[in-house]
Symmetry: C2
DNA sequence: CGAAAAATGGAATGTCAAATCCAGAATCTG
DNA sequence: CAGATTCTGGATTTGACATTCCATTTTTCG
């Protein structure tokens, strides 16, 4: 790749060579604004005019930094993936035991409570909308999920090596299953505007992990208060 | 509701009174064509012109049967929900034991194999695209998922009552968790074009159920052959 | 049959949004 | 400082797409 900077996926910006510090910041402002809007209204529901206004730039600037809307979308995928996966990597990187896994559960559920079950998973939403209409984005998102999965896996492998997780349990499979439960739970929670599906999906899957554990720490997970009754 | 026919959600068709048999069939043809297209290209990516062509009708006919695009979308949600949930209801309605649950798993995975991991869950995809931009559709889809959940629940409750499922296990929670695992697995499988995530998500969750079971029937789930190596 | 209602065809309209163009202002570089 | 490069503003073009209109044909039903 001839492109010195920018992450794994080239062609996110035009074949333009240098960006001045000012240009760099303008470009970032556009990408961030686009990310915000596309999460709220979807990719198709976001116009470049919207982005233009929120980012506070002129229309020519968008095309100065991105070839076209699709290129901007790829930048949004990159920014979003980095934000979400990055956050979880930090959290999960510090965990080494089952107790930490429950704290991770609480972290996720608390976040959904503050956003009132709106929006679902930013990456999952992008993935669902783009999977069949933008192959490069699909791959980019798939890679993001692999990274996410890997950080869960790292956590479970540590538990496995330390002997907290039963020898015959497969930390790799449990990690993938846990990520799937999280994604499915988030989708149902978003649609029903109710924390229950997410909570139960996570509790059941982590419960499964806990069952394969030697030192059981938290037998009764916190039932949560409020936020919507039945749908 | 003054509208004599049409399912739970009124206003899917114009305030028009009667449909002749011919009209009924044309209307269905439009809705079906729209459903097909919207699953492939997304709701926003499908133009009424596309629908017009696939359904083999003139543009005025679409507006004769539906108030506007949003009304058509709601018809698509209805048609799709009925197709997917209906199919699963039939399958799940006949199941009474753990063995049946594994057959259900195979049924789902085989289907994904034939479609080569393309498309994900039709309802989940619609839900993800519409959740934050079309409230009535969001509710309609949430109801669909509840129906789906209920049919899984029915199956698990039967097992519970028959004593196959441990008395202290909660069939309702397991049903919701299983649906979440399915949805998350489908999303990851769609994005990675690989059956593994779906397979592991389902196997792990059903394995959890199996662990709470008295008569274990199938200790080693079929590992599947082929369809893509790692991403 | 024959009038009313329903169904259909296709052209026309109007809006909106992606993408382009052309200056002109700011910034870098030698 | 000066010339090139980057950055910015805004008007403009172009095309696509949802929606409307009206004329015509077909079906219903008294």
């Amino acid at each position: 790749m001839s492109n010195p900077e920018s992450g794994s996926f080239g062609a996110v910006q035009p074949s333009r060579r240098k960006l001045t510090p000012k240009g760099e910041s303008t470009r970032a402002r556009i990408a961030t604004a686009a990310a915000e809007l596309m999460l709220e209204r979807g990719v198709a529901g976001t116009t470049l005019e919207d982005v233009r206004i929120v980012a506070g730039v002129s229309s020519s600037q968008i095309y100065h930094y991105f070839d076209d809307k699709q290129a901007l979308v790829r930048a949004v995928v990159e920014v979003t993936t980095e934000a979400v996966v990055g956050r979880h990597e930090v959290f999960l990187g510090a965990l080494t035991d089952l107790d930490g896994l429950w704290r991770w559960r609480d972290f996720i559920i608390e976040h959904q409570r503050t956003v009132e079950c709106v929006g679902g998973c930013p990456i999952g939403t992008l993935g669902s909308e783009l999977a069949e209409i933008d192959a490069p984005s699909r791959v980019q998102i798939a890679v993001g999920f692999r990274r996410w999965e890997a950080s869960i896996r790292g956590c479970l492998r540590t538990m496995h090596e330390r002997g907290e997780l039963a020898a015959d349990a497969d930390p790799d499979e449990l990690a993938l299953a846990l990520l799937a439960a999280l994604q499915g739970g988030l989708l149902l929670t978003q649609l029903q505007r109710d924390l229950t599906p997410l909570r139960i999906a996570l509790d059941t899957m982590i419960g499964q992990i806990a069952a394969r554990t030697t030192a059981v720490r938290r037998p009764t997970p916190t039932p949560d208060r409020g936020t919507a009754g039945a749908g």
